[in-house]
């Protein structure tokens, strides 16, 4: 009975090419990441893409971890919060942004940016019903104040301080002196607003004057520490009250501070 040699009916995997091994047709070897199929039996004929003994069977893929065909993100991203984007020529790290900032698209690349033109960031209010009396001729602190801790150092603070000041004088020519001072993080007070002076017409005998005081000002404290805005006053050495006309005729003072995002005011 005649027989027919069908040859190999499947590829014969031979592992890595060995120069001393005798290979038969349809043997398959690996070399340099590629695989080759033997098309003519031989020994010692090196593999190649298209030789008399070998044909390429499969070509290795691009190596993505050797730094030439890919980017190792574990070295690009170094800090928690970092993000990566496509730069002019390569993947580029955008370092973690400042808390409260938002991701803004620049002309070409993304960037972190402070909130601007956003409006009111916070508002605080304080009221007080304890008046202060003084006979001093120099400024003393009232209880008309408001405390705010800005969320950003470039914020502006809109401050409103209001109350009533009175002079109960037995002398003539009374004056009222009022101004706003600030203290940052518990430090000494320094002036914020220009002095407010009010002189009354000379008059003899007991004088009882009640005057509304309203300060509206925009201030840039340039800090994220606590800021106290407070009214200071005196009556030129006459007995004077702030926060009412006497200890029994009290009018509560009010302080309001509104933090405005940079660029609003």
């Amino acid at each position: 009975m005649a027989t027919i040699n069908l040859g190999a009916i499947k590829f014969n995997w031979k592992g890595a090419y060995n120069n001393g091994t005798t290979y038969a047709v349809d043997d398959v070897v690996s070399s340099g990441g590629n695989s080759y199929v033997c098309i003519q039996a031989s020994t010692g004929n090196a593999v190649g893409n298209a030789t008399a003994y070998w044909n390429i069977m499969s070509t290795k893929g691009t190596n993505g971890t050797d730094g030439s065909n890919g980017t190792d993100l574990t070295s690009t991203l170094t800090t928690r919060g970092d993000i990566v984007y496509k730069g002019a020529s390569a993947l580029t790290r955008l370092a973690k942004g400042t808390a409260g900032y938002y991701l803004k698209q620049g002309a070409n690349d993304p960037e972190w940016s402070a909130v601007s033109g956003g409006g009111v960031l916070q508002a605080v209010h304080n009221t007080n019903a304890t008046p202060v009396n003084t006979s001093s001729s120099s400024y003393v602190a009232t209880n008309n104040s408001v405390t705010i801790t800005p969320t950003a150092s470039n914020s502006k603070i809109y401050v409103v301080l209001s109350g009533q000041v009175a002079v109960n004088s037995s002398g003539d020519d009374p004056w009222i002196y009022v101004k706003v001072r600030k203290s940052i993080n518990g430090a000494s007070y320094s002036d914020v607003a220009s002095n407010y002076y009010r002189r009354y017409a000379p008059s003899a005998g007991n004088i009882h004057i009640l005057e509304d005081v309203n300060f509206h000002l925009i201030h840039a404290p340039a800090t994220t520490q606590s800021v106290v805005y407070k009214v200071w006053y005196h009556g030129g050495g006459q007995s004077s009250w702030y926060g009412g006309r006497s200890n029994s005729e009290v009018s509560s003072t009010n302080g309001i501070a509104i933090e405005l995002a940079n660029g609003i005011a």
């Binding site: 304890t130 009396n133 006979s135 120099s138 003393v140 109960n168 037995s170 007995s239």
Partner: protein, 89 residues
């Protein structure tokens, strides 16, 4: 009650102080002012209050006395009131 600041100035016209409401614990003396005791201040307030009351009483008495004299001159009460504004109670 007489203003505490007025009483202090009555005791010492150059005195300078600061106090919150009537909380004596907050009383501070400024610009080297010699301290004045709470008792002295309250005594001065009482003294000034009495003087103020006496002054008001004397003024009311003078009005009544003047009104009586006007009536003694033959004016009616309406005429006297028109002149002085005073109306007996």
């Amino acid at each position: 009650m007489i203003d505490i600041g007025l009483a202090i100035k009555e005791i010492n016209k150059d005195a300078e102080h600061r106090i919150e409401g009537l909380d004596w614990n907050t009383l501070t003396w400024l610009n080297n002012t010699a301290p004045i005791s709470q008792a002295d201040i309250e005594a001065k307030q009482a003294e000034m209050e009495t003087a103020k009351t006496n002054e008001a009483t004397a003024k009311a008495s003078a009005k009544a006395s003047g009104n009586t004299k006007l009536l003694g001159l033959g004016l009616t009460q309406a005429e006297a009131t028109a002149l002085t504004g005073f109306t007996p109670e």
